[in-house]
């Protein structure tokens, strides 16, 4: 069993939480005693943080819409198709037609990359996230 200190995702408090990993599975969540926010306790959401991670409904394969239905596909096909479509619409709309939603649930690094991608690659400032919701 391995305790990995990370940061809880269930609200803006940002509790320090140890995820217990065993054989590639997260099996428990406990608070950090010395963390300035969590101080050895979590709320009910934090204590059950591990429960959703391995839910069978997790997406594990890229999906692509074919004949109106989402079907599993390869990473290459999903990425190629997405890149092609984004390039096409970007060029057809003079950089105005693509909107990007970033996420308040993703990391800073990912948010940074996505806004960089939007601005540098898609050539638009059409990026936002649901800060206000």
């Amino acid at each position: 069993m391995q305790d990995v200190l990370t940061t809880c995702v269930y609200c803006g408090c940002g509790c320090g939480v140890y995820l217990q990993a065993e054989n590639g599975r997260v099996v428990g969540s406990t608070a950090s005693r010395n963390h300035p926010v969590s101080r050895n306790n979590l709320c009910v959401k934090g204590w059950h943080l591990h429960e959703f991670i391995h839910h069978p409904d997790r997406l594990t394969e890229p999906l692509i819409r074919k004949k109106g239905k989402l079907v599993p596909t390869s990473w290459d096909e999903a990425l190629d198709y997405t890149a092609k479509e984004l390039a096409r619409i970007r060029d057809q709309t003079d950089n105005q037609g693509i909107g990007v939603l970033s996420s308040a649930k993703c990391t800073n690094e990912e948010n940074y990359l996505l806004q960089k991608f939007t601005r540098a690659v898609l050539q638009t400032n059409n990026i936002d996230h649901c800060a206000r919701l």
Binding site: L5, T6, T7, Y10, C11, G12, C13, G14, C15, L19, N34, P36, V37, K45, H48, E51, F52, I53, H54, D57, R58, L59, T60, E61, P62, L63, I64, R65, L70, W75, A78, L79, D80, Y81, T82, E85, L86, A87, G97, I98, L101, S103, K105, T107, N108, E110, L113, R119, A120, V121, T124, N125, N126, I127, D128, H129, C130, A131, R132, L133
Partner: protein, 538 residues
């Protein structure tokens, strides 16, 4: 967060979470803290145990209101008249911090002149709170050495959200309750990394660290670093993108880890927009309501499967560490974006998230000293952190406000765009509950949390329930001018007669079908908190 940006220059919590327990007076406005921010409520209750006074402004008698010395149960949407009345009382009682106003702020006289024009009785009548209670609250807040204001979406999700925040800022500046430890104005951010997403420039008008895209100097800095020309025009906001309709300007969208099909107001409009896109790509961990409409869905790694940082509500940037490898064929969002960029002819070759953070530190001054190695060695750092020797910032605006001088913005009452009438006699208030988070994508998949709470309840006062002949647990139909949903009745003294309350976490009961599609023009924040509905037995 435009409210604090215009008054203080920085739209973030001025204090740290742990400072709240040292405050002498805590004014909580529009925050159901015990349910939405349990750790912060813990500090508030600790403070109360140590003798601090608690003022709660909330139309509902929340759990926190039970502990309040003064509970100002205002009519929803009347925060500005209430706060103006408090400020007028402070002015009349001569509790103004003249020295602070003189040294550190500007535009005070405009506010004062406006306050002198205010009719206190009229204001009290508008809010529905007795004037004597407002007096007590004003005195309590202004007389203490350390008064702290905490607010949440109950303040911002109004048509006048920005002005509400500005009023709170006025109140704090007028009494000198900023720029010190244990006292300030603290917006409690709802989502775990909403602060970080803003800091990182996931906004249509600013680069990371709030550097405007319209400013040529900042743009040149990023152009040089990213080796590409950048657009100068501000982009579309979320509401403009998701509500543009079937003939709107947005033809394609890339959505990372968001579920506008449940979180945005007027879901029918969102659905119309998304369904008519030429192309929609969604990266998420579950097949959300939004992902179901996509042309391509990328399986993303969860937070337990990646390295990175989150920024909490007190501006603390902390490490996220992987406990396991991505499950199945999942990839991290960073990997997905890099792969797309590469296919579009722009190489983003980072060896690790740490390398991305190094780039952030170079370009985003408030993150200047926040490389992963430093964050690893402590419990995270609070921005601004200008360089590697900077210890981070416990509270903001020490010595001077971020924008220079604190700017008073006089504000006047603006009623909600929809008030109850004969046809729709109830005021619907929305909020969060303890057991679930946001659109429930994750918490609804947790067996314990789902056991504890598995359905959206409609809180209704006994008086109204009697009139409707409704018992606890019965199904009720809630109709607004925009849609209808069914909810289970929970008779509760928390809501006043004439008001009903529910939550937005449940896909089975998408409350945003009912909400009005007006928003605060200054912050683009939808008016979620209030709308008029009728409640009937189905």
């Amino acid at each position: 967060m435009a409210g604090l940006a215009t008054t203080f220059g920085s739209g973030a919590m001025t204090n740290s979470i742990n400072e709240i327990e040292n405050a002498q007076v805590i004014l909580v406005s529009g925050s159901n803290t015990t349910e939405a921010h349990p750790q912060i409520a813990r500090r508030m209750l600790d403070a109360v145990d140590r003798g601090a006074k608690l003022i709660v402004i909330d139309p509902r008698k929340t759990l926190l209101a039970e502990f309040a010395d003064i509970h100002l149960d205002i009519r929803p949407g009347t925060d500005i008249p209430l706060l103006n009345a408090m400020m007028r009382i402070i002015l009349d009682e001569n509790l103004v911090d003249d020295l602070f106003i003189e040294m550190r702020t500007e535009n005070y006289y405009q506010l004062r002149d406006m306050l002198y024009r205010l009719d206190l009785d009229e204001a009290a009548k508008t809010t529905g709170v007795e004037l004597s209670k407002i007096y007590k609250a004003a005195q309590l807040y202004a007389q203490a050495q350390k008064s702290v204001i905490c607010y949440c979406l109950g303040i911002t999700q109004h048509i006048c959200g920005t002005r509400n925040v500005q009023s709170l800022a006025n109140l704090a500046m007028m009494t000198g309750n900023v720029e010190k430890g244990d006292t300030g104005v603290d917006p409690l951010r709802g989502q775990n990394n909403v602060q970080g997403a803003c800091d990182m420039g996931a906004l249509p008008n600013v680069f990371p660290s709030y550097q405007p895209v319209g400013n040529i100097d900042f743009r040149e800095k990023f152009e040089a670093a990213w080796k590409v020309n950048l657009p100068s025009k501000s982009g579309c906001t979320l509401m403009e993108m998701t509500h543009s309709g079937k003939d709107g300007p947005i033809r394609a969208m890339y959505i990372m880890g968001e579920n506008p099909m449940l979180s945005d107001p007027v879901l029918s409009k969102v659905e119309e927009t998304l369904r008519n896109l030429e192309f929609l790509a969604v990266a998420d961990i579950f097949l959300t309501e939004t992902a179901k409409l996509a042309h391509v869905v990328f399986p993303a790694a969860s937070f337990a499967e990646k390295t990175g940082t989150f920024t909490n509500t007190e501006r603390r940037v902390q490490m996220v560490r992987p406990a396991i490898a991505p499950i199945g064929n999942c990839r991290t969002d960073a990997d997905i974006i890099s792969a797309l960029a590469l296919r579009l002819g722009y190489a983003m070759d980072y060896d690790s998230p740490a390398e991305i953070m190094e780039e952030i530190a170079m370009l985003a001054p408030i993150y200047g000293g926040m490389q992963h190695d430093r964050l690893e060695a402590c419990w995270g750092l609070q921005w601004p952190c200008w360089d590697r020797s900077h210890p981070g910032t416990q509270f903001l605006h020490k010595y001077y406000f971020t924008r220079g001088k604190g700017h008073f913005v006089p504000t006047e009452h603006e009623p909600p765009s929809e008030m109850p009438d004969k046809k729709y006699p109830f005021l619907l208030i929305t909020g969060r509950i303890y057991h679930h988070y946001h659109t429930g994508t994750m918490t609804r998949k947790s067996s314990t949390l789902n056991r504890e709470c598995n359905e959206a309840l409609l809180q209704i006062n006994q008086v109204d329930a009697d009139q409707l002949k409704v018992r606890n647990g019965e199904t009720l139909k809630v109709t607004s001018r925009r849609g209808e949903i069914k909810l289970t009745a929970e008779i509760s003294e928390q809501v006043k007669p004439g008001s009903v309350y529910t939550t937005f976490h449940f896909a089975e009961a998408p409350i945003n079908l009912l909400c009005i599609d007006t928003w605060d023009p200054l912050a683009n924040c939808p008016e979620y908190k209030v709308c008029a509905v009728k409640v009937t037995k189905p």
